[in-house]
Symmetry: C2
Subunit: 314 residues, 2 copies
Protein backbone atom coordinates (compact mmCIF):
# COMPACT_ATOMS: atom_id res chain seq x y z
CA UNK A 1 0.00 0.00 0.00
CA UNK A 2 1.52 3.36 -0.97
CA UNK A 3 1.57 6.36 1.36
CA UNK A 4 -0.63 8.28 -1.09
CA UNK A 5 -3.54 5.91 -0.41
CA UNK A 6 -3.81 6.83 3.25
CA UNK A 7 -7.12 8.60 3.69
CA UNK A 8 -8.45 8.90 7.22
CA UNK A 9 -10.75 5.96 7.72
CA UNK A 10 -13.47 6.18 10.34
CA UNK A 11 -14.45 2.85 11.82
CA UNK A 12 -18.20 2.26 12.27
CA UNK A 13 -19.18 3.58 15.70
CA UNK A 14 -21.27 0.57 16.74
CA UNK A 15 -18.48 -1.93 16.22
CA UNK A 16 -16.14 0.37 18.17
CA UNK A 17 -18.41 0.28 21.21
CA UNK A 18 -18.81 -3.46 21.07
CA UNK A 19 -15.05 -3.74 20.90
CA UNK A 20 -14.42 -1.94 24.15
CA UNK A 21 -16.88 -3.97 26.14
CA UNK A 22 -16.67 -7.48 24.79
CA UNK A 23 -13.17 -7.90 23.47
CA UNK A 24 -11.28 -6.96 26.60
CA UNK A 25 -13.21 -9.55 28.57
CA UNK A 26 -12.82 -12.19 25.85
CA UNK A 27 -9.09 -11.55 25.57
CA UNK A 28 -8.67 -11.74 29.33
CA UNK A 29 -10.54 -15.04 29.56
CA UNK A 30 -8.48 -16.52 26.76
CA UNK A 31 -5.27 -15.19 28.32
CA UNK A 32 -6.17 -16.76 31.66
CA UNK A 33 -6.91 -20.13 30.09
CA UNK A 34 -3.70 -19.98 28.04
CA UNK A 35 -1.65 -19.15 31.12
CA UNK A 36 -3.26 -21.95 33.10
CA UNK A 37 -2.49 -24.43 30.33
CA UNK A 38 1.10 -23.17 29.97
CA UNK A 39 1.57 -23.77 33.71
CA UNK A 40 0.22 -27.28 33.30
CA UNK A 41 2.41 -27.99 30.26
CA UNK A 42 5.53 -26.72 32.03
CA UNK A 43 5.36 -28.15 35.55
CA UNK A 44 8.29 -27.35 37.87
CA UNK A 45 11.00 -30.00 37.76
CA UNK A 46 13.26 -31.13 40.61
CA UNK A 47 17.03 -31.46 40.22
CA UNK A 48 19.59 -29.08 38.76
CA UNK A 49 17.73 -28.92 35.41
CA UNK A 50 14.78 -27.43 37.28
CA UNK A 51 16.40 -24.02 36.84
CA UNK A 52 15.82 -23.99 33.10
CA UNK A 53 12.17 -24.98 33.56
CA UNK A 54 11.75 -22.13 36.09
CA UNK A 55 13.26 -19.75 33.56
CA UNK A 56 10.97 -21.10 30.82
CA UNK A 57 8.00 -20.46 33.12
CA UNK A 58 9.22 -16.95 33.85
CA UNK A 59 9.57 -16.36 30.12
CA UNK A 60 6.01 -17.33 29.26
CA UNK A 61 4.02 -16.73 32.46
CA UNK A 62 4.68 -13.05 33.09
CA UNK A 63 1.41 -11.79 31.72
CA UNK A 64 1.07 -10.57 28.18
CA UNK A 65 -2.05 -10.01 26.12
CA UNK A 66 -1.93 -13.51 24.59
CA UNK A 67 -3.02 -12.02 21.30
CA UNK A 68 -1.72 -14.98 19.28
CA UNK A 69 -3.58 -17.59 21.34
CA UNK A 70 -6.70 -15.46 21.02
CA UNK A 71 -6.35 -15.31 17.24
CA UNK A 72 -5.95 -19.10 17.04
CA UNK A 73 -8.97 -19.66 19.26
CA UNK A 74 -11.19 -17.04 17.57
CA UNK A 75 -10.30 -18.34 14.09
CA UNK A 76 -11.02 -21.90 15.20
CA UNK A 77 -14.41 -20.78 16.52
CA UNK A 78 -15.24 -19.43 13.04
CA UNK A 79 -15.29 -23.07 11.97
CA UNK A 80 -17.04 -24.39 15.05
CA UNK A 81 -13.92 -25.62 16.83
CA UNK A 82 -14.46 -25.18 20.57
CA UNK A 83 -11.83 -23.23 22.50
CA UNK A 84 -10.86 -26.35 24.44
CA UNK A 85 -9.69 -27.96 21.19
CA UNK A 86 -7.58 -25.00 20.05
CA UNK A 87 -5.99 -24.17 23.35
CA UNK A 88 -3.01 -26.55 23.24
CA UNK A 89 -2.11 -25.22 19.79
CA UNK A 90 -2.55 -21.69 21.12
CA UNK A 91 -0.22 -22.47 24.03
CA UNK A 92 2.41 -23.89 21.66
CA UNK A 93 2.29 -20.68 19.61
CA UNK A 94 2.66 -18.62 22.79
CA UNK A 95 5.70 -20.72 23.77
CA UNK A 96 7.32 -19.81 20.47
CA UNK A 97 6.39 -16.14 20.88
CA UNK A 98 7.79 -16.19 24.42
CA UNK A 99 11.03 -17.90 23.36
CA UNK A 100 11.54 -15.18 20.75
CA UNK A 101 11.14 -12.48 23.40
CA UNK A 102 13.54 -14.24 25.80
CA UNK A 103 16.22 -14.42 23.10
CA UNK A 104 15.53 -10.94 21.67
CA UNK A 105 15.91 -9.43 25.14
CA UNK A 106 19.41 -10.92 25.62
CA UNK A 107 22.32 -8.45 25.98
CA UNK A 108 23.73 -9.76 22.67
CA UNK A 109 20.46 -8.83 20.94
CA UNK A 110 18.18 -5.96 22.12
CA UNK A 111 19.61 -5.91 25.67
CA UNK A 112 16.24 -5.29 27.34
CA UNK A 113 15.93 -5.51 31.11
CA UNK A 114 12.19 -5.04 31.32
CA UNK A 115 9.34 -6.93 29.66
CA UNK A 116 5.67 -6.72 30.58
CA UNK A 117 6.76 -4.71 33.64
CA UNK A 118 8.94 -7.56 34.93
CA UNK A 119 12.70 -8.09 34.80
CA UNK A 120 13.58 -10.19 31.74
CA UNK A 121 14.73 -13.81 32.00
CA UNK A 122 18.45 -13.09 31.64
CA UNK A 123 18.19 -10.47 34.39
CA UNK A 124 16.45 -12.83 36.84
CA UNK A 125 18.66 -15.81 35.91
CA UNK A 126 21.66 -15.26 33.62
CA UNK A 127 22.41 -15.16 29.90
CA UNK A 128 23.19 -18.85 29.59
CA UNK A 129 19.97 -19.87 31.34
CA UNK A 130 17.99 -17.44 29.16
CA UNK A 131 19.48 -18.93 25.99
CA UNK A 132 18.59 -22.44 27.19
CA UNK A 133 15.13 -21.35 28.37
CA UNK A 134 14.40 -19.97 24.91
CA UNK A 135 15.67 -23.17 23.32
CA UNK A 136 13.54 -25.18 25.72
CA UNK A 137 10.35 -23.20 24.99
CA UNK A 138 10.85 -23.51 21.22
CA UNK A 139 11.41 -27.25 21.52
CA UNK A 140 8.51 -27.79 23.91
CA UNK A 141 6.13 -26.13 21.44
CA UNK A 142 6.78 -29.00 19.04
CA UNK A 143 6.37 -31.59 21.78
CA UNK A 144 2.94 -30.09 22.49
CA UNK A 145 1.88 -30.01 18.84
CA UNK A 146 3.10 -33.57 18.19
CA UNK A 147 0.91 -35.00 20.96
CA UNK A 148 -2.40 -36.68 20.06
CA UNK A 149 -3.97 -34.59 22.83
CA UNK A 150 -3.60 -31.58 20.54
CA UNK A 151 -5.57 -33.23 17.74
CA UNK A 152 -6.38 -36.89 17.11
CA UNK A 153 -5.53 -36.70 13.38
CA UNK A 154 -1.78 -36.80 12.72
CA UNK A 155 -2.27 -35.05 9.36
CA UNK A 156 -3.65 -32.05 11.25
CA UNK A 157 -0.82 -32.15 13.80
CA UNK A 158 1.82 -32.32 11.11
CA UNK A 159 0.21 -29.37 9.26
CA UNK A 160 0.34 -27.35 12.49
CA UNK A 161 3.99 -28.29 13.05
CA UNK A 162 4.98 -27.44 9.47
CA UNK A 163 3.19 -24.10 9.68
CA UNK A 164 4.67 -23.15 13.04
CA UNK A 165 8.20 -24.12 12.01
CA UNK A 166 7.90 -22.22 8.73
CA UNK A 167 6.59 -19.08 10.45
CA UNK A 168 9.29 -19.21 13.12
CA UNK A 169 12.45 -20.08 11.20
CA UNK A 170 14.87 -18.31 8.90
CA UNK A 171 12.07 -17.66 6.38
CA UNK A 172 9.96 -16.16 9.16
CA UNK A 173 10.58 -14.81 12.63
CA UNK A 174 14.29 -15.69 12.90
CA UNK A 175 14.90 -14.13 9.48
CA UNK A 176 12.98 -11.04 10.55
CA UNK A 177 15.05 -10.63 13.68
CA UNK A 178 18.21 -10.98 11.56
CA UNK A 179 16.95 -8.25 9.23
CA UNK A 180 16.15 -6.09 12.26
CA UNK A 181 19.82 -6.24 13.23
CA UNK A 182 21.06 -5.45 9.74
CA UNK A 183 23.68 -2.69 9.55
CA UNK A 184 21.42 -0.94 6.99
CA UNK A 185 18.54 -0.97 9.45
CA UNK A 186 18.60 2.84 9.93
CA UNK A 187 18.18 3.39 6.20
CA UNK A 188 15.21 1.11 5.51
CA UNK A 189 12.43 2.58 3.39
CA UNK A 190 8.74 1.73 3.77
CA UNK A 191 9.04 -1.48 1.72
CA UNK A 192 12.04 -2.56 3.78
CA UNK A 193 10.26 -1.94 7.07
CA UNK A 194 7.12 -3.67 5.82
CA UNK A 195 9.03 -6.78 4.75
CA UNK A 196 10.99 -6.84 8.02
CA UNK A 197 7.81 -6.69 10.06
CA UNK A 198 6.03 -9.25 7.90
CA UNK A 199 8.76 -11.71 8.88
CA UNK A 200 9.58 -10.61 12.42
CA UNK A 201 6.07 -10.27 13.85
CA UNK A 202 3.70 -10.85 10.93
CA UNK A 203 4.59 -14.49 10.24
CA UNK A 204 3.65 -15.77 13.69
CA UNK A 205 0.50 -13.63 13.88
CA UNK A 206 -0.49 -15.05 10.51
CA UNK A 207 0.22 -18.60 11.58
CA UNK A 208 -1.89 -18.07 14.72
CA UNK A 209 -4.90 -17.43 12.47
CA UNK A 210 -3.91 -20.23 10.09
CA UNK A 211 -3.75 -22.63 13.02
CA UNK A 212 -7.44 -22.02 13.73
CA UNK A 213 -8.18 -22.56 10.04
CA UNK A 214 -6.17 -25.81 10.00
CA UNK A 215 -7.98 -27.12 13.08
CA UNK A 216 -11.29 -26.01 11.53
CA UNK A 217 -10.47 -27.63 8.19
CA UNK A 218 -11.25 -24.38 6.37
CA UNK A 219 -11.75 -24.56 2.62
CA UNK A 220 -9.43 -22.80 0.19
CA UNK A 221 -11.51 -19.61 -0.08
CA UNK A 222 -11.89 -19.33 3.68
CA UNK A 223 -8.21 -19.99 4.16
CA UNK A 224 -7.24 -17.23 1.77
CA UNK A 225 -9.55 -14.73 3.52
CA UNK A 226 -8.02 -15.63 6.87
CA UNK A 227 -4.55 -15.17 5.39
CA UNK A 228 -5.40 -11.73 4.03
CA UNK A 229 -7.02 -10.75 7.34
CA UNK A 230 -3.94 -11.86 9.25
CA UNK A 231 -1.57 -9.99 6.93
CA UNK A 232 -3.45 -6.73 7.45
CA UNK A 233 -3.81 -7.28 11.18
CA UNK A 234 -0.15 -8.17 11.63
CA UNK A 235 0.99 -5.06 9.84
CA UNK A 236 -1.51 -2.87 11.73
CA UNK A 237 -0.16 -4.38 14.95
CA UNK A 238 3.35 -3.32 14.05
CA UNK A 239 2.40 0.19 12.94
CA UNK A 240 0.70 0.67 16.30
CA UNK A 241 3.78 -0.75 18.04
CA UNK A 242 5.84 1.97 16.39
CA UNK A 243 3.29 4.60 17.47
CA UNK A 244 3.35 3.32 21.05
CA UNK A 245 7.14 3.40 21.07
CA UNK A 246 6.93 7.12 20.28
CA UNK A 247 3.86 8.04 22.31
CA UNK A 248 3.77 5.54 25.14
CA UNK A 249 5.44 5.62 28.52
CA UNK A 250 7.64 2.95 29.99
CA UNK A 251 5.12 2.51 32.79
CA UNK A 252 2.19 1.90 30.45
CA UNK A 253 4.19 -0.29 28.05
CA UNK A 254 5.89 -2.42 30.69
CA UNK A 255 9.07 -2.00 28.65
CA UNK A 256 11.23 1.02 27.84
CA UNK A 257 9.60 3.56 25.48
CA UNK A 258 11.48 5.38 22.70
CA UNK A 259 13.63 2.31 22.08
CA UNK A 260 13.47 2.62 18.30
CA UNK A 261 14.51 6.27 18.27
CA UNK A 262 17.42 5.48 20.58
CA UNK A 263 18.50 2.66 18.29
CA UNK A 264 17.96 4.99 15.31
CA UNK A 265 15.80 2.36 13.65
CA UNK A 266 13.68 3.29 10.65
CA UNK A 267 10.02 2.88 11.63
CA UNK A 268 6.57 3.43 10.16
CA UNK A 269 6.29 6.58 12.24
CA UNK A 270 9.63 7.80 10.99
CA UNK A 271 8.55 7.23 7.40
CA UNK A 272 4.93 8.42 7.65
CA UNK A 273 4.83 10.72 10.65
CA UNK A 274 2.49 10.13 13.59
CA UNK A 275 -0.66 11.16 11.70
CA UNK A 276 0.33 9.14 8.62
CA UNK A 277 1.06 6.06 10.72
CA UNK A 278 -2.31 6.40 12.48
CA UNK A 279 -4.03 6.60 9.11
CA UNK A 280 -2.15 3.60 7.86
CA UNK A 281 -3.18 1.59 10.94
CA UNK A 282 -6.82 2.61 10.47
CA UNK A 283 -6.72 1.74 6.80
CA UNK A 284 -5.21 -1.69 7.51
CA UNK A 285 -7.82 -2.27 10.20
CA UNK A 286 -10.62 -1.52 7.76
CA UNK A 287 -9.06 -3.79 5.19
CA UNK A 288 -8.65 -6.60 7.72
CA UNK A 289 -12.29 -6.37 8.76
CA UNK A 290 -13.43 -6.31 5.13
CA UNK A 291 -11.71 -9.68 4.59
CA UNK A 292 -14.12 -11.17 7.10
CA UNK A 293 -17.25 -10.25 5.08
CA UNK A 294 -17.63 -13.84 3.86
CA UNK A 295 -18.10 -14.91 7.47
CA UNK A 296 -21.11 -14.16 9.63
CA UNK A 297 -21.47 -13.06 13.24
CA UNK A 298 -19.06 -15.82 14.30
CA UNK A 299 -16.30 -13.53 13.05
CA UNK A 300 -17.20 -10.73 15.48
CA UNK A 301 -14.38 -11.55 17.90
CA UNK A 302 -11.91 -11.35 14.99
CA UNK A 303 -13.45 -8.00 14.01
CA UNK A 304 -13.33 -6.67 17.55
CA UNK A 305 -9.74 -7.72 18.09
CA UNK A 306 -8.74 -5.51 15.17
CA UNK A 307 -10.09 -2.49 17.04
CA UNK A 308 -8.39 -3.67 20.18
CA UNK A 309 -5.06 -3.97 18.38
CA UNK A 310 -5.15 -0.48 16.93
CA UNK A 311 -6.55 1.18 20.04
CA UNK A 312 -4.34 -0.55 22.60
CA UNK A 313 -2.15 1.51 24.90
CA UNK A 314 0.49 -1.14 25.55
CA UNK B 1 27.16 -49.88 36.89
CA UNK B 2 29.47 -49.74 39.96
CA UNK B 3 33.22 -49.18 39.67
CA UNK B 4 33.82 -52.60 41.26
CA UNK B 5 32.34 -54.31 38.17
CA UNK B 6 34.97 -52.94 35.81
CA UNK B 7 36.97 -55.87 34.62
CA UNK B 8 39.14 -55.40 31.58
CA UNK B 9 37.05 -56.51 28.65
CA UNK B 10 38.81 -57.66 25.51
CA UNK B 11 36.81 -57.14 22.36
CA UNK B 12 36.86 -60.02 19.85
CA UNK B 13 39.87 -59.50 17.57
CA UNK B 14 38.03 -60.21 14.30
CA UNK B 15 35.35 -57.57 14.89
CA UNK B 16 38.11 -55.07 15.77
CA UNK B 17 39.79 -55.58 12.41
CA UNK B 18 36.56 -55.27 10.49
CA UNK B 19 35.89 -52.05 12.36
CA UNK B 20 39.05 -50.32 11.22
CA UNK B 21 38.55 -51.11 7.57
CA UNK B 22 34.82 -50.90 6.93
CA UNK B 23 33.44 -48.46 9.43
CA UNK B 24 35.66 -45.50 8.63
CA UNK B 25 34.63 -45.72 4.98
CA UNK B 26 30.95 -46.20 5.84
CA UNK B 27 30.97 -43.27 8.23
CA UNK B 28 32.68 -41.07 5.68
CA UNK B 29 30.17 -41.94 2.97
CA UNK B 30 27.26 -41.26 5.27
CA UNK B 31 28.87 -38.00 6.43
CA UNK B 32 29.31 -36.87 2.83
CA UNK B 33 25.71 -37.64 1.95
CA UNK B 34 24.47 -35.92 5.10
CA UNK B 35 26.53 -32.81 4.36
CA UNK B 36 25.30 -32.73 0.76
CA UNK B 37 21.70 -32.94 1.93
CA UNK B 38 22.21 -30.27 4.61
CA UNK B 39 23.55 -27.96 1.90
CA UNK B 40 20.49 -28.67 -0.19
CA UNK B 41 18.11 -28.13 2.74
CA UNK B 42 19.78 -24.83 3.68
CA UNK B 43 20.36 -23.01 0.39
CA UNK B 44 21.90 -19.53 0.59
CA UNK B 45 19.30 -16.76 0.78
CA UNK B 46 19.55 -13.24 -0.66
CA UNK B 47 18.68 -10.15 1.37
CA UNK B 48 19.72 -9.10 4.87
CA UNK B 49 18.34 -12.32 6.39
CA UNK B 50 20.88 -14.24 4.29
CA UNK B 51 23.40 -13.69 7.07
CA UNK B 52 21.59 -16.01 9.47
CA UNK B 53 21.36 -18.72 6.80
CA UNK B 54 25.12 -18.40 6.16
CA UNK B 55 25.70 -18.75 9.88
CA UNK B 56 23.40 -21.80 10.01
CA UNK B 57 25.42 -23.35 7.18
CA UNK B 58 28.68 -22.59 8.97
CA UNK B 59 27.25 -24.20 12.10
CA UNK B 60 26.34 -27.49 10.44
CA UNK B 61 28.69 -27.77 7.45
CA UNK B 62 32.08 -27.57 9.11
CA UNK B 63 32.81 -31.29 9.03
CA UNK B 64 32.10 -33.49 12.00
CA UNK B 65 31.84 -37.25 12.14
CA UNK B 66 28.06 -37.22 11.59
CA UNK B 67 27.79 -40.04 14.12
CA UNK B 68 24.11 -39.36 14.78
CA UNK B 69 23.09 -39.48 11.10
CA UNK B 70 25.08 -42.71 10.78
CA UNK B 71 23.24 -44.26 13.72
CA UNK B 72 19.86 -43.32 12.23
CA UNK B 73 20.82 -44.73 8.84
CA UNK B 74 22.41 -47.92 10.20
CA UNK B 75 19.47 -48.61 12.50
CA UNK B 76 17.06 -48.03 9.63
CA UNK B 77 19.03 -50.51 7.51
CA UNK B 78 18.50 -53.13 10.21
CA UNK B 79 14.85 -53.03 9.20
CA UNK B 80 15.46 -52.81 5.48
CA UNK B 81 14.99 -49.04 5.19
CA UNK B 82 17.33 -47.77 2.46
CA UNK B 83 19.70 -44.94 3.37
CA UNK B 84 17.93 -42.60 0.96
CA UNK B 85 14.77 -42.88 3.08
CA UNK B 86 16.51 -42.17 6.40
CA UNK B 87 18.74 -39.35 5.26
CA UNK B 88 16.34 -36.43 5.70
CA UNK B 89 15.63 -37.56 9.25
CA UNK B 90 19.37 -37.95 9.79
CA UNK B 91 19.95 -34.41 8.51
CA UNK B 92 17.25 -33.04 10.85
CA UNK B 93 18.96 -34.72 13.80
CA UNK B 94 22.30 -33.25 12.72
CA UNK B 95 20.68 -29.79 12.55
CA UNK B 96 19.62 -30.17 16.17
CA UNK B 97 23.07 -31.44 17.18
CA UNK B 98 24.68 -28.52 15.34
CA UNK B 99 22.35 -25.95 16.93
CA UNK B 100 23.29 -27.28 20.36
CA UNK B 101 26.99 -26.82 19.57
CA UNK B 102 26.45 -23.29 18.22
CA UNK B 103 24.64 -22.27 21.42
CA UNK B 104 26.97 -24.19 23.76
CA UNK B 105 29.99 -22.46 22.22
CA UNK B 106 28.61 -18.96 22.94
CA UNK B 107 30.58 -16.75 25.35
CA UNK B 108 27.65 -16.91 27.77
CA UNK B 109 27.91 -20.72 27.82
CA UNK B 110 31.19 -22.64 27.22
CA UNK B 111 32.89 -19.70 25.43
CA UNK B 112 34.61 -21.89 22.82
CA UNK B 113 36.39 -20.28 19.89
CA UNK B 114 37.26 -23.47 18.05
CA UNK B 115 35.09 -26.34 16.89
CA UNK B 116 36.14 -29.09 14.49
CA UNK B 117 39.26 -27.06 13.81
CA UNK B 118 37.28 -24.04 12.62
CA UNK B 119 36.36 -20.79 14.36
CA UNK B 120 32.94 -21.13 15.97
CA UNK B 121 29.85 -19.35 14.62
CA UNK B 122 29.89 -16.48 17.11
CA UNK B 123 33.57 -15.85 16.28
CA UNK B 124 32.97 -15.72 12.52
CA UNK B 125 29.71 -13.72 12.86
CA UNK B 126 28.71 -12.38 16.28
CA UNK B 127 26.84 -13.54 19.35
CA UNK B 128 23.43 -12.35 18.18
CA UNK B 129 23.78 -14.07 14.81
CA UNK B 130 24.97 -17.26 16.52
CA UNK B 131 21.93 -17.24 18.82
CA UNK B 132 19.63 -16.78 15.82
CA UNK B 133 21.51 -19.37 13.75
CA UNK B 134 21.02 -21.93 16.51
CA UNK B 135 17.34 -21.01 16.75
CA UNK B 136 17.06 -21.32 12.97
CA UNK B 137 18.70 -24.75 12.85
CA UNK B 138 16.49 -26.09 15.63
CA UNK B 139 13.38 -24.77 13.89
CA UNK B 140 14.43 -26.01 10.46
CA UNK B 141 14.84 -29.54 11.81
CA UNK B 142 11.10 -29.63 12.47
CA UNK B 143 10.32 -28.17 9.04
CA UNK B 144 12.30 -31.05 7.52
CA UNK B 145 10.64 -33.74 9.64
CA UNK B 146 7.14 -32.35 8.99
CA UNK B 147 7.55 -32.61 5.21
CA UNK B 148 6.00 -35.57 3.36
CA UNK B 149 9.35 -35.96 1.60
CA UNK B 150 10.71 -37.30 4.88
CA UNK B 151 8.09 -40.05 5.08
CA UNK B 152 4.71 -40.37 3.36
CA UNK B 153 2.91 -41.47 6.54
CA UNK B 154 2.10 -38.56 8.85
CA UNK B 155 1.95 -40.94 11.83
CA UNK B 156 5.60 -41.74 11.25
CA UNK B 157 6.53 -38.08 10.82
CA UNK B 158 4.74 -37.10 14.00
CA UNK B 159 6.49 -39.91 15.92
CA UNK B 160 9.85 -38.60 14.66
CA UNK B 161 8.95 -35.04 15.66
CA UNK B 162 7.75 -36.08 19.12
CA UNK B 163 10.91 -38.14 19.68
CA UNK B 164 13.27 -35.42 18.50
CA UNK B 165 11.56 -32.71 20.56
CA UNK B 166 11.55 -34.90 23.66
CA UNK B 167 15.23 -35.77 23.29
CA UNK B 168 16.20 -32.15 22.70
CA UNK B 169 14.17 -30.21 25.25
CA UNK B 170 14.26 -29.57 28.97
CA UNK B 171 13.84 -33.32 29.66
CA UNK B 172 16.74 -34.05 27.33
CA UNK B 173 19.59 -32.09 25.83
CA UNK B 174 18.58 -28.62 27.10
CA UNK B 175 18.12 -30.04 30.60
CA UNK B 176 21.51 -31.74 30.34
CA UNK B 177 23.24 -28.52 29.37
CA UNK B 178 21.54 -26.78 32.31
CA UNK B 179 22.82 -29.50 34.66
CA UNK B 180 26.29 -29.11 33.14
CA UNK B 181 26.28 -25.46 34.24
CA UNK B 182 25.06 -26.25 37.73
CA UNK B 183 27.06 -24.59 40.54
CA UNK B 184 27.49 -28.09 42.08
CA UNK B 185 28.99 -29.37 38.85
CA UNK B 186 32.49 -29.79 40.37
CA UNK B 187 31.14 -32.05 43.10
CA UNK B 188 29.12 -34.50 40.98
CA UNK B 189 29.58 -38.18 41.78
CA UNK B 190 29.44 -41.00 39.24
CA UNK B 191 25.63 -41.14 39.30
CA UNK B 192 25.43 -37.37 38.82
CA UNK B 193 27.83 -37.43 35.86
CA UNK B 194 26.02 -40.40 34.33
CA UNK B 195 22.64 -38.70 34.56
CA UNK B 196 24.03 -35.43 33.18
CA UNK B 197 25.51 -37.20 30.18
CA UNK B 198 22.41 -39.29 29.59
CA UNK B 199 20.53 -36.03 29.07
CA UNK B 200 23.18 -33.82 27.51
CA UNK B 201 24.55 -36.19 24.87
CA UNK B 202 22.82 -39.53 25.46
CA UNK B 203 19.27 -38.45 24.66
CA UNK B 204 20.02 -37.33 21.08
CA UNK B 205 22.27 -40.33 20.38
CA UNK B 206 19.44 -42.53 21.61
CA UNK B 207 16.88 -40.76 19.49
CA UNK B 208 19.15 -41.15 16.44
CA UNK B 209 18.87 -44.93 16.82
CA UNK B 210 15.16 -44.72 17.67
CA UNK B 211 14.57 -42.71 14.49
CA UNK B 212 15.83 -45.65 12.42
CA UNK B 213 13.57 -47.96 14.40
CA UNK B 214 10.57 -45.67 13.89
CA UNK B 215 11.19 -45.49 10.14
CA UNK B 216 11.70 -49.26 10.11
CA UNK B 217 8.54 -49.87 12.12
CA UNK B 218 10.45 -52.02 14.60
CA UNK B 219 8.48 -54.23 16.93
CA UNK B 220 8.50 -53.74 20.70
CA UNK B 221 11.30 -56.24 21.39
CA UNK B 222 13.50 -54.81 18.64
CA UNK B 223 12.79 -51.30 19.84
CA UNK B 224 13.84 -52.14 23.39
CA UNK B 225 17.11 -53.73 22.17
CA UNK B 226 17.88 -50.63 20.12
CA UNK B 227 17.16 -48.46 23.16
CA UNK B 228 19.50 -50.48 25.35
CA UNK B 229 22.20 -50.46 22.66
CA UNK B 230 21.90 -46.69 22.32
CA UNK B 231 22.07 -46.13 26.08
CA UNK B 232 25.31 -48.09 26.33
CA UNK B 233 26.77 -46.50 23.23
CA UNK B 234 25.88 -42.97 24.32
CA UNK B 235 27.51 -43.44 27.70
CA UNK B 236 30.59 -45.07 26.13
CA UNK B 237 30.81 -42.08 23.80
CA UNK B 238 30.91 -39.70 26.72
CA UNK B 239 33.43 -41.70 28.75
CA UNK B 240 35.71 -41.63 25.70
CA UNK B 241 35.08 -37.88 25.36
CA UNK B 242 36.34 -37.43 28.89
CA UNK B 243 39.41 -39.57 28.10
CA UNK B 244 40.13 -37.54 24.96
CA UNK B 245 39.83 -34.31 26.91
CA UNK B 246 42.64 -35.55 29.16
CA UNK B 247 44.77 -37.38 26.62
CA UNK B 248 44.06 -35.63 23.32
CA UNK B 249 45.69 -32.59 21.79
CA UNK B 250 43.90 -29.49 20.56
CA UNK B 251 45.21 -30.23 17.08
CA UNK B 252 43.79 -33.76 16.96
CA UNK B 253 40.51 -32.80 18.64
CA UNK B 254 39.86 -29.67 16.59
CA UNK B 255 38.86 -28.00 19.87
CA UNK B 256 40.81 -27.12 23.00
CA UNK B 257 41.93 -30.11 25.07
CA UNK B 258 41.89 -30.19 28.90
CA UNK B 259 38.73 -28.07 28.95
CA UNK B 260 37.10 -30.10 31.72
CA UNK B 261 40.10 -29.89 34.03
CA UNK B 262 40.29 -26.15 33.48
CA UNK B 263 36.59 -25.80 34.27
CA UNK B 264 37.13 -28.13 37.26
CA UNK B 265 34.27 -30.30 36.08
CA UNK B 266 33.78 -33.72 37.58
CA UNK B 267 34.29 -36.33 34.83
CA UNK B 268 34.36 -40.07 34.41
CA UNK B 269 38.15 -39.89 34.30
CA UNK B 270 38.21 -37.84 37.49
CA UNK B 271 36.02 -40.41 39.21
CA UNK B 272 37.53 -43.61 37.81
CA UNK B 273 41.03 -42.66 36.70
CA UNK B 274 42.25 -43.16 33.14
CA UNK B 275 42.49 -46.94 33.39
CA UNK B 276 39.11 -47.21 35.09
CA UNK B 277 37.47 -45.01 32.48
CA UNK B 278 38.99 -47.12 29.69
CA UNK B 279 37.63 -50.26 31.34
CA UNK B 280 34.22 -48.67 31.70
CA UNK B 281 34.17 -47.70 28.02
CA UNK B 282 35.18 -51.23 26.98
CA UNK B 283 32.56 -52.76 29.25
CA UNK B 284 29.84 -50.50 27.85
CA UNK B 285 30.97 -51.33 24.31
CA UNK B 286 30.67 -55.04 25.00
CA UNK B 287 27.25 -54.52 26.53
CA UNK B 288 26.07 -52.42 23.56
CA UNK B 289 27.19 -55.09 21.11
CA UNK B 290 25.51 -57.84 23.13
CA UNK B 291 22.19 -55.99 22.76
CA UNK B 292 22.43 -56.60 19.02
CA UNK B 293 22.51 -60.41 19.34
CA UNK B 294 18.87 -60.66 18.27
CA UNK B 295 19.82 -59.10 14.92
CA UNK B 296 21.89 -60.79 12.22
CA UNK B 297 24.68 -59.54 10.00
CA UNK B 298 22.61 -56.45 9.13
CA UNK B 299 23.66 -55.14 12.53
CA UNK B 300 27.39 -55.25 11.71
CA UNK B 301 27.62 -51.49 11.02
CA UNK B 302 26.06 -50.83 14.42
CA UNK B 303 28.57 -53.25 15.98
CA UNK B 304 31.50 -51.69 14.17
CA UNK B 305 30.53 -48.15 15.09
CA UNK B 306 30.83 -49.12 18.75
CA UNK B 307 34.48 -49.93 18.19
CA UNK B 308 34.89 -46.73 16.25
CA UNK B 309 33.40 -44.70 19.07
CA UNK B 310 35.64 -46.12 21.76
CA UNK B 311 38.80 -46.12 19.62
CA UNK B 312 38.38 -42.68 18.09
CA UNK B 313 41.10 -40.06 18.56
CA UNK B 314 38.89 -37.00 18.15
Amino acid sequence: MSAAKHQRVELPADSREKSDAAIVERLQKCADRTSALLKELLPPVAGPEGRVVEAMRHGCLNGGKRLRPFLAVATGELFGVPQSETLRTAAAIEMVHSYSLVHDDLPAMDDADLRRGEPTVHVVYDDATAILAGDGLLTEAFTVLASPETHPDSDVRVALIAGLAQASGAQGMVGGQMIDMSPDREEFDLDGITRLQALKTGALIKFSCQAGAILGRANREQYSRIDAYADDLGLAFQVVDDLLDVEGTTEALGKPAQQDAQAQKATFVGQLGVAGARQKAAHLAESAIAQLDVFGGEADPLRQVVHFVIERRS
